[in-house]
Structures are given as structure tokens and as C-alpha cells.
Symmetry: D2
Subunit: 367 residues, 4 copies
């Protein structure tokens, strides 16, 4: 049973390989009547696309999206929205050296074991390139959340390797290729990346992502809790190894008298919860943090085996991100938006429009 569909009511079915003819997705369940154009989607794809700075892969892909269905006279019709992105820069010769051997840290070995056949060109299906359709679908979700519910999802880099990035302001995020919320630290990040590239090595990163304007009431316990679905979506991003909500791992050493966010008639006094209590949104901001491992494709030679189990040494040439975390921010935002729209529709199915029962902590779902 393949698992290429995300969501239950607002579903995204992803297809394609890194070096096949095209990648894309089908969105099913988008509410009708929303204005939607290719430009609405392109703006998010452009934030993720490769080749935008010297710190990311130099593969040249315009990532131009075509809407194939589901939009009529500029509006969504409630029927499936198919999005197509043609692959254009498929220099597959770069990847010839990995046909017979498995790159350490990569999915080469596991795809081979699972399917008995593997598209080795650029990582095939396991390539981070397949986050592009997710980002495209996320753009649709973001637009609906913003226009109908006043919800915004935004992300930023909070650490690059061992360098923590103190949050200064959201405005900084869009002004540097790292999505760092801190303009001052950018030169240091650039130096760090330049040294790393020279070493032929790669590094991890930490990304923060949050949503504001989320009403109380979203989430479907016992199992499809909002935080559980966020954790799944985030851990499903290529290279992610950890997910925290709110206080996260810091809550291990917290006392109950510190962790539990007190409430006042004006709202919550803190946000250790990260916006989720009992698996349901509380009306606080949703705050998430994710750990991204270093890119596995590095120029440094590494020990591995080949298909028949013999020792082999692998060096990866070709075009790779030395820190996949750099382009992860728009991806994490997209996934948070996709989880939220799915839960907004799920909530509406069973409960209809939210009726705010506590006057001072307002929370609405409008169509």
C-alpha cells in the first residue's frame, strides 16, 4: 500500500521522480469558489526552488506550475486540482556512479530492498525535489486559510549547525537565502557555508514554523490529534529527524507548575503547549520546531556496499545542497498549512461552524 496521499478531506496525491518527465500532485477536496491562479502557487514554488543562491544546489529548474483542472473562470470548482511541473534540467549522467552502490545516509538501499527496483537518477522518488508538489499544494491551503480563517503559517531557520539564530523579526526572513529572522547573523552563516563547501561536507539545521490565528477546536483525538498530524507531516519531510511542539524536549525537566499555561480572561499567560492541548488547538499560536540532518550527498569519500554486498567507496559529485535545511522553511510552512486546512474541514464536517463558547477567547471558523 503506497502512501502518496496526504490528508483525509483536503488530500494531496504526489507523483513523479527527480529525473522523470514531470512531477506534480492532485489536490482533492479544496472548497469551491476560491480565486486561484498559477501565480498564487508560483510564488511559493519560487521560495523553495533550487539555484537561488550559491549555498544551495545549482540545478536549474524553473519549477513552472501548470493548473490542469479544478479551476474555472479563475475560481476553484470543488473538483480535483491537478498541478503539473515539468522537469527540465535532468543531467542524469551526473548520477551514473550510484547505479551499483548505495550512498550512506541515503534511501538508495532501502528503496532497493523495498521494491526490488530503483530509479537511481537523482535519487528518483526519494529526491527532495518531490517536496515541490507539496509546496504547490501548500500554497493553495495557505491561501484558503488566510482568506477564510485569517490563519497565517510562517517559518524561519533557528539554527544552522552549531550556530543558533536568535529571532529578531519576521521581516528579516525574506531578505536572506537562509530564511534567518536575523539580518545581522547572515554574514556569519555565509562564511560558515563557504567553509563547509570547501570541506566537501554538509551540516544540519533547525527550523521553526508557526501558525497564528488558529481558532480553538481543531484536532481529532484520540489518534488524529492536531499535534500528531503535525508531527507526521513534519517527520515526513526529507531529512527531518525530530519534531517538537511548544516546549518540546525542554518539558522533560519542567515542573507542572511551570509548564501548564495559565489562563486569564484576556487569554493564555504563556505558550508551553505550543497551541495544542489534548490534541486540539487551544487558540494559542501553533509553534513547531524540527531538526534537519546534514545532506548525505557529500564529496568526502565514504564506505558502503554494492548490490551484491561487496565493499565499495562512494563519493558523490553532482549538484547538491550542502545544507538541505536552507530550503526547508517553505516546505515546513506548506505542511503546517496542509495539516491545518485538513483539520479545519474535518472539524466543520462534524461540528459545523465553531460556536465560541468563551467570550474572551474568540475562535471562529468561517467558510
Amino acid at each position: 500500500m503506497s502512501g502518496n496521499t496526504l490528508g483525509t478531506l483536503f488530500t494531496v496525491t504526489n507523483f513523479g521522480e527527480s529525473h522523470g518527465p514531470a512531477i506534480g500532485c492532485v489536490i482533492d477536496g479544496c472548497p469551491p469558489g476560491m480565486e486561484l491562479s498559477e501565480a498564487d502557487i508560483q510564488i511559493e514554488l519560487d521560495r523553495r526552488k533550487p539555484g537561488t543562491s550559491r549555498h544551495v544546489t545549482q540545478r536549474q529548474e524553473a519549477d513552472q506550475v501548470e493548473i490542469l483542472s479544478g479551476v474555472f473562470e479563475g475560481k476553484t470548482t470543488g473538483t480535483p486540482i491537478a498541478l503539473l511541473i515539468r522537469n527540465t534540467d535532468q543531467r542524469s549522467k551526473d548520477y551514473g556512479n550510484i547505479v551499483e552502490t548505495f550512498r550512506p545516509g541515503h534511501a538508495d538501499y532501502t528503496y532497493w530492498q523495498k521494491y526490488g527496483i530503483r530509479d537511481y537518477r537523482g535519487g528518483g522518488r526519494s529526491s527532495a525535489r518531490l517536496t515541490a508538489p507539496t509546496v504547490a499544494a501548500g500554497a493553495v491551503a495557505k491561501k484558503w486559510l488566510r482568506e477564510r480563517m485569517g490563519i497565517e503559517t510562517r517559518g524561519f531557520m533557528s539554527a544552522l549547525g552549531e550556530i543558533p539564530i536568535p529571532f529578531v523579526a519576521w521581516e528579516h526572513v525574506r531578505e536572506n537565502p537562509f530564511f534567518a529572522p536575523n539580518a545581522e547573523i547572515v554574514p556569519r552563516l555565509e562564511e560558515y557555508m563557504d567553509a563547509l563547501r570547501k570541506d566537501g561536507d554538509s551540516i544540519g539545521a533547525r527550523i521553526g514554523v508557526m501558525a497564528t490565528g488558529v481558532p480553538a477546536g481543531l484536532g481529532e483525538p484520540l489518534y488524529d490529534r492536531l499535534d500528531a498530524d503535525i508531527a507526521k507531516a513534519m517527520m515526513g519531510i526529507n531529512a527531518v529527524k525530530g519534531v517538537e511542539i511548544g516546549a518540546g524536549f525542554a518539558s522533560v525537566a519542567q515542573r507542572g507548575s511551570v509548564h501548564g499555561d495559565e489562563m486569564t480572561p484576556e487569554g493564555f499567560a504563556a505558550n508551553n503547549a505550543g497551541g495544542v492541548l489534548g490534541g486540539i488547538s487551544s487558540g494559542q499560536d501553533i509553534t513547531v520546531s524540527i531538526a534537519i540532518k546534514p545532506t548525505s550527498s557529500i564529496r568526502t569519500p565514504r564506505e558502503s556496499i554494492d548490490k551484491v554486498g561487496h565493499s565499495a567507496t562512494v563519493e558523490t559529485f553532482g549538484r547538491h545542497d550542502p545544507c538541505v535545511g536552507i530550503r526547508a522553511t517553505p516546505i515546513a510552512e506548506a505542511l503546517l498549512a496542509l495539516v491545518l486546512i485538513d483539520h479545519a474541514l474535518r472539524h466543520r464536517a462534524q461540528n459545523g461552524d465553531v460556536v465560541t463558547t468563551t467570550p474572551h477567547i474568540a475562535a471562529h471558523i468561517a467558510k
Copy 2:
């Protein structure tokens, strides 16, 4: 859309409230022909049940399970296995003081906002008591994984509040109420808990859980990756705020030349991956770590609001775990087992029995 079913092929549908007549679950998709008795399930329920030491809630529940269906002449028939646990110790008077106010850190407020109605007796549906049916279902999954695939899932406490618990040996785990893999540290943990109870406060914990014997090939990318489904299951446990696989958050500061596990003809040289590459199991051990927040129900008075939005002070009396993490180990094991059996069946659906293609890193799924 309610989300009370876990899994896609081996599904668990959970029902019940803390103080209603009964709790339980229906397992659908369990393969036929496996010997199964109530004793097989009871053993896991007994590991989780309350009242077993002075460090956990004193609620008296035998948590006696009854198999209502799906087993004939001592064997599973492939039809739904319904498990029933009657609630017996429902002293609901303990909970009267939370009818009108919302306990900080609890799901009181969010359930109220979501459904407009809330069973306030003992937390109702949001009570950690509802992990019992999950543990019962997990016992069935564990048995199948052990007998048919040679997979074991085991957990332990790795930190209690600020006290790290160095791993010594699995044998220690079952000999103390903390599931600590370190007998020597137990007196210190007991002292710590005694002091905490005296303070009327609570504390967080960190739990490690792992699976051995997992063949390569389990996991369904792009979205239903094995690590993603593990993250969902773990984050879905009451009070969990963070999930790591393998190196987890430590991978942020790792270099690619360190993180990517090298392979040799004898196997992997390390396990930063935590047993998952590209969302598919690699044949390494699956290693997971989760952060559990401190119990929100504490005797210390806290600020909150009531249903009409006025200020209120909340003190929680009654029977509560001062560290919900203490009983979390069998729950985390159960969930890891439930994810693994689901993915084992999903793999088999599409691929049939795994054909091991690399001779030296063997990986099998047998029925």
C-alpha cells in the same frame, strides 16, 4: 470527522471515557491463525495499570480485558477482535470542582471549545486512561511481530525530570516501577518523586523505545513514511511534546561525514538514522525518543478561567500521576508495535514477501 482509528490495515478503533461504563477497542485486520488469549493481553495491561507503586495514581482498576469476538478455539479468525475493559473505580465526586473551570495544561478548555459539550468526569475522553485499549491492541501486535517476524519492541525511561538515566541493561527495566534500565539509580528516582509529591507538583520524563529485528523495506513514502507514522503515533500519546528518531535533534549540529551511517558487508557501522532512511526501514534497530510533559493535574493552585470567561483559581485534588512518564513506557512500546505491524501488512500487500537482494544484510517478512 473523528479520528479514533489508528492504522490503515491493522486498525484499532478506540472507545470509552475515564468514568463511563467501559473502555475498549476493536482491532480490524489482524491476520488469522494466531493463538490469542486474554492472558496474552492482560500481561501488557498489567504493566500499564494504575496503583502499582506509590509513584503513580492510586485509582484502583483491575483493567481486566474481555475478548468479545475474533477469536475461535483459541485462534484469531481474521475478523474484528473487540476488547472490553469495564471501569470499576469511578469515584466521580473527586472531579466535581472542574465542572465549571478549565484546568491549565489540560484538555478541558479545548474539548469544550470543540464539541460544545464535555464529559468532565476524570477528564472524560481526554484521560490517559484511554491508553489502556491502545496497550491491549499493542499486545496483539507485539505477539504477531514476535512470532511471525522476530521483531521485539522495548522501551525504557531515559530521563526523569533533570535526572538522566544512563542505560545499563534491559533486565533492569522490569524490576522497578520507573522502567529505568539502571537499578542503581532507582533510589534516587524514588527520593525525587517523594519530594515532588510533597511539593504538590509534577515533572516530565524522557522515554526511549526501540524495535529490533525489523527487516529492511517497511515504510510507504512519500507521505506514509515509517518515521512519519512513528512520529504521529508517539506525538499522539497524552502529554508527549517531542519525538526524535535516531540522532534526532543532535543531527542539527552533525556534519554529513559523521551523520550518514556507513555500510559494510557485515552491516551498518553506526545508527544515526535510527533505522529509517528515506522513510523506509533499513534493517538497523528502530530507535525513538519522546519527551513527556509534567502532569497538569497538580495540587498547587493555578490561575484559570471558567466557562463564562471569568477568572478562577484551580486546585486539583483526586488521584493523579505526578509523572505521567512513569507509566508511558508500555504505551510507547504498544504504539511502536502497532505502527510496525501496520507497515508490515502494507508492505506485504504491494510487494508480497520481501525478497532479500543483498545477501549479507538479510531482511525477511514471513507470514
Copy 3:
């Protein structure tokens, strides 16, 4: 992958065997805030239960339902509603003769082939007894549809064997054990059944079921069309071999100028559509007709084989309905209600409340 869950948003997970300790179901997704008691459910179970006339099985089952969860202070809470019915009359000795042989027309052979193990007591899981939990869940759906949307689902017998039953009036349906909408024909039906029992044989029947008050707009094409889901639900009833919507098989010989229902400002001029156009409800009444095969358990000896493939003669003694169609009416009503509530919630998820765009053909979904 077992298929014991019906529906997508209002789901019913069915468990139990004919002669096991209990049967029941878990309803997940019922909207909160609806008054619900065991009496609301019992009334529908009593319409279906055995032993109510000499024309049906004489098995004595009170079919007493217990609500285990999901209702608090008399109202649904939006969490799973578990319903339990204990089996009380399990005279399993009646069924000893079918342990080693397969009854023609029965599921004995196919369950054996599928699972390799089979609960032979009273048909085990394949018994029509398992329609009781479906009827119980249908009672909950019916109540919600009636109270929140003004929808009624009703059925009747339209033919018993070769005897067509002309529709006279709904009032007649509840006054005879056949659910015949025609009091005058009842003596003839009774005679017919008496003769049949004397012959040791059984007979088929045709049941009509319809829904009134259904708004336009329910149904999720392309594949989850309303008529498609109705067909699935109906064909899923034990012994059903055919399903028609509207004109059904008569439409084969109709011309387009006759079949297509003309519209006027006052409404549709006919109902060949059976209330569904393009897979979406039209606001006309939903009309369905189903064919039910004769009971396979008959006293007449029949040729078959045993488990090792040898010839065997099978005679079925014990307690059986000579026409399973007699008790099928409440089952068909329940399933139509379950499909409609599921589609009402699905529609609401994506579209919110229906906005009636044509003033004269009003159609509303109210919570």
C-alpha cells in the same frame, strides 16, 4: 485488509459472531449535542429482531443494546459511541453438522478459503445476525437526519417470491410482519410462507427503500457518488444480489425523451432518476430497490463437498428464516440512513451549509 468499517466521516465499525459472547459496533463521527438513549436504538432493533412471527427464525434474542460510551448526560459528545449486544440464545449444538461440510449457497466455503479458519457456529461472522449492529447504528443516523435535516428513510416489501405487492400506504407497513405496504395481500403472503415451510424450502424477495426530504447536493463524484455508495451499502446486505436506483433496469428500454425527468418551477415532473443525477442528490426522493435471494439454509438435502474435497450431502436443521427478505426492510432503511448521514457530513466539510441557489427547489442542510 479487513473491511468492517462502513462510511468515511460517520463510521460504523462492526464486530462479533453469531454465537460468540457479544456483537456490536463503534460509531465514530456522530455530531455532538444530539439527545440519545438506548430506547432510541432499541426501537429499530426490535423491528429487526428474530422470533417476532412464525415466518422468521425462532431463535430467541432480546437484542438488548447497551451504550458504552459517547453519550454524557443524555447527549452525544462527539466521541465514539460503542454499542454492545450480548448474545444470549447460542444453542450451538444445532450447527454441529456443518463443521466439516460446506452448505451450498453459504459463506462456509469462502470463509474457509479466505482465512483458513472458520467459526462454524451459526455461520459465525457471516451470519445475518451481524446486521443488528448496523441497524443499531442506523437508528442513530436516522435520528440525526430526522431532527437536523428533516430526512426520513423508509422501506417496504415490494415482492415476495413471485407475488408482487402493490404499494397502498405506508401505514400498512408497520402492521404486518412482512413490512408489506398492503394489508389486503398479507393473508396471501402468510399462506405462501406456510406452504414453503412445509416444503422445507425458502424464497427470495424484493425490498423498496426510499428517503424523503433529501436536499440537492449530496454525493461526491467522481467515484464516491451518492448512488454508488448506496449500491455498495445495499449489495453489502447479506443475500442481496441486485440494486436499482430510480427506473433501474427498466431504463434499458426507455428512450431519453422519456427517462430524463423534466423540471418545472414547482419541481421535477417525474422521478426516473431516483433522486440522483451525476452522482449527486437532486432534491427528488431517493428511491432504491433491492433483490434478496432465498435463504440458503433449507431442510431439503443438497449436494456439496467436505473440507478434504469429498462429496457430501447437506441438510440444514436448526432455526432459520425461510425468507431472509422478511426482516430486510429495517436493515435496508438503516443502510440508506448511514449513507445519507455520511454524505451530509462530507458535503458540509467541503461546502459548509448548502446555499440554495434555485429559489423554487429548496434544499437545505442545517446542522
Copy 4:
């Protein structure tokens, strides 16, 4: 919640509109390692495509399929197979007259009511053109069923309007545009259709579809019975109003001593069951019959209303099939194949390869 995905393990997600840029689908869950080319799919699309005789719509569409993903070096990889068909003959001016009025018997009114917005060009999403992606996906399913399990699905026309078509031989089916299994009757069918076109009217049809080589054991009761899923798939075809399995509606007047198929060591003595007992395949041929209503788009003027509820007269010009049943045979075959492959994978998930327990009625699932 949109319902554009068919199946649970072998899923088909359909997208597109009659006059949009493209139609297509994404298949998820196809087992890896099967040879697959565009030619394998094109052959089935060509059987369904318009313009192949004077008795069907004259719209010119090559229905050329492009495989966008999921196939590498000529073999399926186990990842999603995206299929794209560009629309080329979109003379949308033909359809201008239905922008403001609802055609009787069409989905115009119900789409408008459901979504509040409607792509009126050629029926938009409700067009029978959208069966093309289903047929394309069915070609993949057919190939796998044939090569791995020895299952064949085949269909034929069994009645055109009031003309029954006695079955003579399968060879005849592919030699006439009606898919009639009877060469002798073809001239009469042609005359009938010519007269109908002259009248500006349309007619219904009955289609038979069957599968041979199906092993015992496929089907997932209680609700996802094989017959139930077949009924859903068939009723989901545009214009279908009735579905029968085996004896179908004839079973209403059958006695149990006639209907129940006796078994002998050599196999079943009859096939009233249509190959399904208790919702599980029996090893007999699967036999299905469906009723297709007459096309609603006819030249004869008909009464209707417009969007504001006023009376209107509708005449449909443009290119339409006077009997949609003529092209329905390959569609029904495709859907039967899609249901069977889905159930074959579902069975394998829970049970592994079928173990034949009765030696003389062999039934295998091989990968």
C-alpha cells in the same frame, strides 16, 4: 470531502474536465516490477474512445496517454503512476446554450446546487469523458491480473433498448462497434440506432461483464464485500441505474433449492451466486450485469428551468452518444479489474498468499 479516489490499496485518483486542458489519473499502489508501456494502456483507451463509428459521438479525441511517472526502464517501480491525456477537440461553442439552463436528466442542476459554481463546458467534470482515465488505470490492473493471477475481465452488450442480444461467442465482441457477442444481430442494432438518431432520441442498454480465473478468498466482509465494491464501482459509471450479481433480480422468485449452487469434487454445479458467497469470491466466474439509462442529451426539446428558477426549453445540439451504453463495455471491464486488483492486494496484506485448502477447487494468488 471529494471522492475522486477509487480503491484502498490500488488507488486511482482521477482529475480533469471535459473541456479543460487535460484529464488523467494517478495510480498509487501498483506492485513494482511489472513491464508497462504507453501501448499497454493505449489499447484499452482506443476501445473506449469517441468517433470510432457513426453510432457514437463524433468528437475527435486521440486520447493519447503519456506516462509521467512510476515506470523506470520499462517496469513499474511501486511508486505512483501518473497518466496524462491532453484534451484536443474542445469546441466549447457547442455548449453555450446550457450555461443558464439545466438539461433534464443531466448533472447540471446537481453540480450547481452542490458547488455553487459549475464548469458548463461539455458537462465539465460530470462528462462521460472522465471515464477515460478510469479505463487507462484499468488497463494497468488488467495487465497485472492477467500476468500474475491468470484473471481475465471481459464484457459485452446484452441488450440494446428492447432488443435482447443472445450471447454467441466472445470473438464476436471485438468485431462490431456495439461489443455485441453476436455478429448476426449487428445489422438490426445498426438499423435501430440509425432510426433513433433520425428521431433525435436516445436509448438505454444492458452490459454484462465477467471475470474468469478469480481464486476463492477475495472480499472483505462485513462491509467491503467483493460484491459490494463491484456494485459501487458499477453504479459509479455515468448513466448506470442498476447492478446485478449472478442471478440478480431473478433470485427474488427463486427457491432456495434452486438458487444455492451445489458443489461437487469437480467444482460448482451452477453459478447463481455470480462468483460471490458471503461477500467473498468462490472461485466461480464473477458475473455482473448493469443497466445503462438513455443519454440525456437529445435533440428533442424538453422542459426545464434556468438558474433563477424560471421555465425554459432545452434542446441539446453538439456531439453526443445516442446510446452511452455502446461505449460502456470497456469501462465496465476496467472497473471490474480495478475492484479485483484492489481486493487481491487487500487479501494478500492480511493473509499472505492464498493457501488452497480444498484440493479440487484450486485457487491461488501468486505475486
